[in-house]
């Protein structure tokens, strides 16, 4: 804080362009946390996410075995004290593979959302800020892309790129970009008219600066809600692509691929496909519950209810 900030003159100048409003638009995390504590389901979601993150980070410490260690003497062993989740057709410990699988499956979820959110937010912010013909052209293209069924497109794209986890990830990320473009663009359109953004334009701030300082921080709430919900669905979609053979390949410990391999043993070794699939379910539930909770907090229409 400098001395000038405290002078009444400076304060009134500041208010003219609404800097205080600009700051108020950013997220108050203390308020979010206070609200979150009122919602048991959102807290449950947060707890699940925390556990999954701990498992990802600490897999080598938590996992009882090397996930790729073969043990041909104990093939397809049922769940026991030695192997809580049983073993697969080459004797690998399924618990260890599920724990390590969190690293692959959840990382894919974050990466997909990171790519689609990063690209989509930037394109949307610039489109909304630019307005006029640029905006119209970009949005018409997005309308067309949004009209595609995203999973069908992801299948086609992943098939064309070749069966590989990275390709599957890219395919899912690309088809999600338009959602973020539209979301951020809507925010940018309304923010563009605010005095503090107009002031920044008047003073010659570059578009990138405006997007970085004003548009994105103030459009953050809906983007965070969308991306939290998207992580869950990205994990589901990536595992689905792996299940139909378009994602992770052997011997990667990826949940969808493990369910796919375990499918052949379903009737006699139920544990094989069951536990990896359960891991997908629990993780997706975590992100969806937490995302729902955040949406309830950030959506002003729901706040009073």
């Amino acid at each position: 804080m400098t001395a000038i900030d405290k002078s009444p003159l400076a304060a009134s100048q500041v208010d003219l362009v609404g800097i205080s409003e600009a700051r108020a638009g950013a997220i108050d995390w203390r308020y979010v946390w206070y609200q979150l504590r009122q919602s048991p389901l959102a807290l449950l979601g947060l707890a699940i996410i925390a556990i999954v993150l701990v498992v990802m980070a600490g897999a080598p410490l938590i996992a009882p075995y090397d996930p790729n260690r073969l043990d041909l003497l104990h093939r397809l062993a049922p769940p026991s004290l030695e192997h809580w989740f049983g073993t697969d057709e080459v004797g690998r410990d399924l618990l260890s593979r599920v724990l390590y699988g969190a690293r692959v499956s959840v990382t894919v979820g974050f990466a997909v959302v990171g790519i689609s959110m990063g690209v989509g937010t930037l394109v949307g912010a610039f489109s909304g800020l630019a307005g006029g013909r640029t905006d119209t052209v970009i949005m018409r293209i997005m309308d067309v892309l949004l009209s595609f069924p995203s999973f069908v497109m992801a299948i086609a794209l992943a098939a064309a790129l070749g069966p590989d986890l990275i390709n599957a990830m890219l395919a899912i990320a690309i088809v999600r970009i338009p959602f973020y473009v539209r979301l951020t663009r809507g925010q940018a359109l309304s923010l563009r008219e605010r005095p503090y953004v107009k002031a920044a334009v008047t003073f010659g701030a570059r578009p990138l600066t405006i997007v970085r300082l004003h548009i994105i921080p103030n459009a953050l709430a809906p983007i965070i809600v969308q991306s939290t919900l998207d992580i869950g669905s990205a994990i589901l979609t990536a595992s689905a692509l792996s299940f139909i053979g378009l994602g992770a390949q052997q011997p990667t410990a990826e949940w969808g691929a493990m369910v796919s391999n375990g499918r052949d043993f379903l009737l006699d070794q139920w544990w094989y496909p069951t536990f990896p699939g359960f891991a997908i379910l629990v993780t997706a539930v975590g992100f969806n519950l937490f995302g729902d909770g955040l949406r309830d907090i950030f959506d002003p229409r729901l706040r009073g209810k």
């Binding site: 595609f148 069924p149 689905a240 139909i244 379903l266 539930v285």
Partner: protein, 336 residues
């Protein structure tokens, strides 16, 4: 915006979307590693034979010309020849299409018949125990990998209990083909054994696909109901002394269902997604199963044909849903 204007706008968008889909699939078929002409000619083909096939396929022409040819073929219903089945892709897709539709309708029925009451109850009892349970069910539905749920159901109801069959559409001869929907055809022709068999085969796949959808429907109906219950006219009805069931059924539900129609329709895309997985798990001979088998055979004409057909169906369904919505919503209809 008037009704006619909206339709006009949507039709223009439709043209662009179909154009976009064709552009994307065309681009993809050129991204594929390997030479399609050589693939088609087989491994022992001479260079002359490959060149001849390339000429036949038009692959020696410039890209824009190839694209024009591709669109012309699509418009004539020529989706190419499947490498795996050696039949025209369109014939294959049309053959498997009714199975997918039958599964989707059954799943949607399950989701709607159960999802609407659950959504209503959840909204009325907001934040009470039953609401928490319903919300948990709906979040679980949205978060469940359909392929995994299908496997669990097969294990339980086929493997353990032996109540329902675990794969296929029917035992024995299918009923006389009229629509291609086995249950409907069997019903119309009075083929009771076929009807029984077709229904019992339909239960588990429809449950699998429907459960994912159930979450979407419940969630949507709940939030629409919550919104409507806040409205002034509901309060007026309450103040006027109307009974609670009448307020909920006559005033709130009818208005809450209007936005729900669009959401349920838009979820058709998710239904397609789920159908691909469900059909794979249950060996259900539909388009989804077809495309997954085509993927493992690297049968690109089939994959791209599926993409074009599924996307077009998706866009058309969305258009119909939007029009239904506008028709149902008196606010929009009145302006038109």
């Amino acid at each position: 915006m008037s009704f006619a204007n909206v339709i006009r706008r949507r039709l223009i968008l439709l043209v662009f979307v179909v154009f976009g889909v064709s552009l994307v699939t065309f681009a993809m078929s050129h991204m594929i590693p390997g030479d399609p002409a050589r693939m088609m000619a087989g491994e022992r083909a001479t260079n002359e034979m490959v060149a001849h096939i390339r000429q036949l396929l038009g692959l020696d022409r410039s890209l824009p010309l190839q694209y024009i040819g591709y669109v012309r073929d699509l418009l004539h219903g020529n989706f190419g020849i499947s490498i795996r089945t050696q039949r025209p892709v369109l014939n294959d897709l049309l053959l498997f299409f009714p199975a997918t539709i039958e599964l989707a309708i059954a799943a949607l029925l399950f989701a709607i018949l159960l999802g609407i009451p659950l959504g209503i109850v959840s909204a009325i009892a907001k934040d009470r125990a039953i609401d928490q349970v319903t919300r948990t069910i709906s979040v679980t539905g949205i978060s469940t990998p359909a392929f995994w749920l299908g496997l669990l159901l097969i294990y339980l109801f086929y493997g353990r209990l032996g109540i329902f069959p675990g794969s296929g559409r029917i035992d024995g001869a299918p009923p006389l083909r009229i629509t291609g929907l086995y249950t409907l055809d069997a019903l119309v022709t009075g083929d009771w054994p076929a009807l029984r068999s077709a229904l019992s085969h339909l239960v588990l796949p429809a449950l699998t696909l429907g459960f994912v959808h159930l979450g979407i429907v419940t969630r949507q109906v709940r939030s629409a109901m919550l919104e409507v219950l806040q409205e002034d006219y509901v309060r007026t009805a309450k103040a006027g002394g109307l009974s609670r069931p009448r307020i909920i059924l006559d005033h709130a539900l009818r208005n809450a269902l209007i936005p729900s129609v669009t959401m349920i329709g838009l979820a058709f895309g998710d239904l397609l997604y789920g159908a691909v997985l469900t059909e794979t798990v249950f060996a259900w001979p539909g388009m989804g199963n077809y495309v997954v088998q085509s993927i493992s055979a690297l049968d690109f004409p089939a994959i791209m044909g599926f993409t074009v057909m599924a996307s077009t169906a998706y866009v058309l369904v969305n258009l119909m849903v939007d029009l239904t919505y506008m028709f149902l919503d008196p606010q929009i209809r009145g302006v038109g």
